[in-house]
């Protein structure tokens, strides 16, 4: 245990703005209450407490959204698109849906990001307010489309459910005629995710590479990786900035198959049971690491692992950032991140 609670709260308060501290502390405490020591999860209360937002075809700040349920899988995807400036003032209701008749563009390349929300495989949904807000910002930033996947969560649905849902979403996106762009034309797909979503993005990218399905890039926002070993960052930062190692352990136990440990290849990518990535046509990666995240050594090891396997990877290390820095646009890390993402999908 790293220091008394008093010190930890004060330290965290020094490095994050007040709003962020309130938001992340609220999640921390609520999540502590929802996890039970026996490994079960209070899903009822979790759904009650989660703030959700409906999709909205009326553009707000130039972005509108709608949900699509794929009957074959019951999977829900929330689609975010930019409203052409012309339509904003001439508020044609339902106009967004009509744009589904045509491809995104026949001349320009329009990026489509498939986004996997975080929540340590257990919390949140595609229609959670924090993620709806984030995806809207992302959509406006890239001037393209974001598809937020409502994957199945643990402990009710363990590995590999989330990865399978991610894979289905990728195939679904590739087969939408209204997501085509460019002169080829094709769907210009990127995978992105924060925390567990980043982990899912990695695994879906691996499967895509193995199956010859194209992914142009991966954006991993403090992705969730781990292993049996305790890294230095885990020891140093345990309990200091909203997260404890024991919390992380709980979520891995809830996600991984029963009886497995954290060296399972889902969790420890380049560990003893990891799958080699040499020679695989793996997409380029942007890996964002928050310097105050106790998982960082695993994320840095992931970056090294990718490099050693000859894969293209860019590391964005944000020294003073804590987890969840991107939920509110009230800090410099947020803007740095946005700039990096924008150039990543434009290059």
């Amino acid at each position: 245990m790293a220091g008394s609670n008093e010190i930890n709260a004060n330290e965290a308060k020094k490095v994050v703005p007040l709003h962020t501290w309130i938001l992340i502390s609220n999640f921390k405490l609520a999540y502590n209450m929802l996890r039970r020591p026996d490994g079960t999860f209070n899903r009822e209360l979790a759904e009650f407490l989660d703030r959700k937002v409906a999709a909205n075809t009326v553009p707000v700040d130039g972005v509108y959204s709608f949900d699509v349920v794929d009957r074959a899988t019951s999977l829900l995807n929330r689609i975010y698109r930019c409203s052409p400036p012309l339509n904003e003032s001439d508020r044609q209701p339902g106009a967004g849906i009509l744009e589904l008749e045509k491809p995104l563009s026949t001349t320009e390349i329009v990026p489509v990001i498939i986004f996997f929300h975080g929540g340590s495989f257990t919390h949140s949904s595609a229609n959670s307010a924090i993620y709806d807000t984030f995806c809207r910002r992302l959509t406006g930033l890239i001037g393209g489309v974001v598809v937020s996947v409502n994957y199945r969560r643990s402990p009710e649905h363990r590995y590999p459910c989330a990865y399978e849902d991610g894979w289905e979403a990728l195939k679904w996106v590739h087969s939408r005629s209204w997501l085509l762009s460019g002169e080829d034309p094709k769907v210009h797909v990127y995978l992105a995710g924060d925390s567990s979503g980043g982990n899912i993005a990695h695994h879906v990218a691996v499967r895509a590479a193995e199956s010859g399905v194209e992914v142009l890039g991966n954006i991993l926002l403090h992705p969730l990786f781990g292993g049996e070993e305790r890294k230095e960052s885990e020891n140093q930062l345990d309990g200091k900035y909203f997260v404890r190692v024991q919390d992380r352990d709980w979520y891995w136990r809830a996600f991984l198959p029963e009886g497995e440990d954290r060296d399972h290849p889902a969790c420890n990518i380049f560990g003893p049971r990891g799958i080699p990535l040499e020679g695989l046509k793996f997409p380029k990666s942007l890996v964002v690491v928050a310097g105050l995240d106790l998982v960082q050594d695993w994320q840095l090891a992931y970056v090294d692992g990718l490099r050693n396997a000859g894969q293209e990877v860019k590391l964005l290390f944000l020294k003073k950032a804590t987890i969840g820095f991107y939920f509110l646009p009230n800090n410099e890390h947020f803007y740095t991140l946005m700039d990096e993402i924008k150039s990543f999908v434009s290059s």
Partner: protein, 530 residues
């Protein structure tokens, strides 16, 4: 070409209350007035006054200190059994937890008008695990025809709005052709055909012609209603949630009086009667006043229902009295007809009725204001309101049409999972009549004037009502109710003290509870004018 394999849902006309600002390049923002709701946290779904930010932070800190000192198992049990209210109001949620975990209660953070419903007895329930997702073999699918269908529907509706009926008529032909190419058994094919039908009726008939549009008898309507009740959970959810709230409002009361704005077949009341019978301390004297349309054929259908309910009440030893009030419109009801007594605790129950009062003004003013006013005069302990969660009352026809298209597509999708016949077919007919009313009718005839929760909240607060929050116990029980329906696409959500039931992520029905703020009583006697 396969069937339409995906469904699209959204709220067409709403401006999201938690809309985000786009990433702006400058980080300077004008300072917010302190009494405002903080907009950063609003984007995360929380309502916190800018004024209160530091206090909320302090409370969170205190809560954490308490939690760290406690046994995690104790905490999760305590938190599980406690009833939580309105988590959007972060300040009061944290406070209620602090109280729950038995610390010295802090000086209360000033909240808005809402007074959280006092914690009721713990409700024990069985842990409900999310049902296993059923895997269906993926079928190849193509959306183009469906999207075309939507496109032409919108174009046709737009022509109707412009008054270009001849173009609209031609488009109807196109639509019929398109319908022939989609699978009319499900999805857009099915609901699309109802909208095409409604549009063509509107083109052919005058929208204000009541005779054309009220073609079913009350009896036939009841049959459709009953099948709608069986085929999908919306009405059951409404009744269930309302009964929960009414039960809580009646705690400790010996004489209670429920006023039901639309008795129909009284499907809601057996459960309440039974719950009251089992109440610790024994049942109260229950009066039920059922309002309904007059029976045309000399039958007193209200009284018939009343007799059946009386028999049930007798069999479980609940003293019960029933009164029927026949009225074609709610604003025809006069308070004296309800014969309330000052000793009684009153519950007013309105399941999908208030929207019918949003039509044109009568000589006495807006019907909704009239009715809300006399409800308030009754001083009920609870006014239960359940309404369709959609805006089908917008002034522009095209806006209404679009909103209805999304709404009813989603509702039809949810019905898809029901396989029981004839329940499903008749339920669809029931919904079809609603669609027709929204699309074909205008003026007094258009009674399906649904408005979303945010509008009802404004209206009710302006009319002198304060929210009573539905808590996590009602939420849990509503979720349990849903497990009786095999489809796991239904979702219950909490929305600032109200509960919604929807299909996947689209809320379709919203339930809210209110209490009347008594009108200020005059301090002087009658003023005598010389």
């Amino acid at each position: 070409m396969g069937p339409h394999d995906s469904s699209i849902s959204a709220a067409a006309g709403s401006t999201s209350s938690s809309s985000s600002s786009s990433a702006c390049s400058s980080s300077t923002k004008p300072p917010q007035p302190p009494d405002q709701m903080d907009h950063l946290l609003a984007g995360a779904g929380y309502k916190v006054r800018s004024n209160d930010l530091h206090q909320v932070a302090e409370r969170l800190h205190r809560l954490e200190t308490v939690m760290v000192k406690s046994n995690p198992l104790e905490i999760s049990d305590l938190v599980n059994d406690a009833v939580h209210y309105n988590p959007a109001d972060l300040a009061s949620w944290v406070d209620s937890l602090l109280t729950e975990l038995n610390t010295n209660p802090p000086v209360p953070v000033p909240t808005d008008l809402s007074d959280p419903h006092p914690n009721m007895n713990n409700m024990m329930y069985a842990t409900n695990h999310a049902p296993h997702l059923q895997q269906v073999v993926a079928q190849p699918f193509e959306e183009d025809v469906s999207i075309q269908l939507v496109h032409v529907l919108m174009t046709c509706a737009e022509a109707v709005q412009r008054g270009d009926l001849s173009l609209a008529g031609l488009l109807i032909d196109d639509l019929q052709a398109l319908l022939g190419r989609v699978n009319s058994g499900c999805g857009i094919g099915k609901v699309g055909s109802f909208f095409v039908d409604a549009l063509s009726r509107r083109i052919v008939n005058s929208p204000e012609n009541a005779a054309v549009h009220s073609d079913l008898s009350a009896y036939e309507n009841e049959i459709l209603y009953h099948h709608y009740y069986e085929a999908c959970p919306y009405l059951k959810f409404a009744h269930f949630t309302a009964n929960q709230a009414i039960l809580e409002a009646f705690e400790g009361q010996d004489c209670v009086h429920v006023i039901d704005f639309n008795l129909m077949q009284g499907l809601q009341w057996p459960a309440l009667i039974q719950a009251l019978a089992l109440r610790p301390g024994g049942p109260p004297l229950l009066r039920l006043t059922g309002i309904g349309p007059p029976s045309p054929d000399g039958r007193d259908s209200l009284r018939e229902i009343g007799l059946k309910l009386a028999e049930l009440a007798r069999s479980v030893n609940v003293r019960f009295a029933f009164r029927g009030v026949a009225a074609s419109r709610l604003d025809d009801v006069k308070p004296w007809m309800l014969q309330v007594s000052p000793k009684e605790a009153i519950a007013v129950n309105s399941i999908m009725q208030l929207h019918r009062l949003l039509g044109p003004n009568s000589s006495r003013g807006p019907p909704i204001d009239l009715v809300l006013d006399w409800i308030r005069d009754l001083n009920p302990r609870i006014l239960m309101v359940v309404e369709q969660e959609s805006n089908h009352n917008q002034p522009e026809f095209l806006d209404r049409f679009t909103e209805a298209l999304y709404y009813y597509s989603t509702m039809f999708d949810s019905l898809d999972v029901c396989t029981a016949q004839p329940e499903k077919a008749l339920a669809e007919l029931y919904i079809q009549r609603e669609i027709c009313n929204v699309v074909c009718c205008e003026g007094l005839v258009r009674v399906e004037r649904h408005e979303p929760l945010v509008r009802w909240r404004e209206r009710l607060i302006n009319a002198g009502f304060a929210p009573l929050h539905l808590g996590s116990n009602a939420f849990k029980q509503a979720r349990m109710l849903l497990t009786l329906f095999s489809a796991e696409g239904y979702s219950v959500e909490e929305n600032e003290g109200c509960l919604t039931l929807g299909w996947h992520s689209r809320p379709l029905i919203a339930a809210s509870a209110w209490q009347a703020i008594p009108k200020p009583s005059p301090t002087m006697g009658p003023i005598i004018h010389p």
